[in-house]
Symmetry: C2
Subunit: 145 residues, 2 copies
């Protein structure tokens, strides 16, 4: 029985997705695998730059390919900044809690929507302003193109 972190190991992940084994991709995977919250591009750049700089365009392109291959999941926020988490470590899909002031995002256990409501009906540390459920994909028209 492998742990989620082993299953997500960089070179296997890239091989399974049919992506070439570049040092850039491995570095970004390494950061995502060891993150304990979903990361933004600026979070990733900051971590990369501690060791060796990487161009932001490269980061965007790598994340874009990871997203297409289903390696990572993208989470939009109110502030227009997307965050990313490893799909294999964060299964199944689960709610995220986001503070609109300090912009901290944390993962919740994978429960149903009505359970989310129940959870926050009780007195809690977190004051909810808004709950969003978004289903993103391709509409019928755009699938044909």
């Amino acid at each position: 029985m492998k742990t989620a972190r082993e299953q997500c190991e960089a070179s296997n992940t890239l091989k399974n997705a049919g992506l070439s084994q570049t040092s850039h991709r491995k570095r970004i995977l390494h950061i995502l695998i060891h993150a304990d919250t979903p990361l933004s591009v600026s979070d990733i750049l900051r971590q990369l730059d501690q060791e060796r700089k990487m161009n932001k365009v490269t980061v965007y392109r790598i994340l874009s390919s990871f997203k297409s291959e289903g390696i990572i999941r993208e989470i939009p926020t109110d502030h227009g900044v997307n965050r990313y988490e490893m799909a294999c470590q964060h299964n199944p899909v689960h709610p995220h809690v986001y503070c609109r002031i300090c912009r901290t995002m944390t993962c919740m256990p994978p429960i149903t929507l009505s359970q989310v409501w129940d959870l926050f009906a009780a007195p809690s540390d977190f004051r909810i302003d808004n709950i969003n459920v978004s289903i993103t994909g391709l509409c019928r028209t755009c699938q044909r193109k």
Copy 2:
């Protein structure tokens, strides 16, 4: 029994929220009330400009005050563009379906998350890439400030 559109009527909405009755606010409310999908700021500006131009800063500020007062609900998208819907016309909170190509957003009936899964497990016109559940608000630390 009033219809949702009557309940949302502009001058009452502003009065209840304690906001002054400016023509700008009424124009934006009018557009939101008559929208059949959640609108982005550029959607709103485009509609406004057909009649008489309004500065985009004003639109952002008005939407921001509406959001603080709970008059409208904000829905983030993968593309970093927020969309807005009248809270009183769109109760309770419900999922949104968003096409990542044409960027069309539509409202779904207010069902639970597991029902959403069931709905899309069956053959469907819409191909799901990603489901996001986000709870936005204030964490304990930021509530104190």
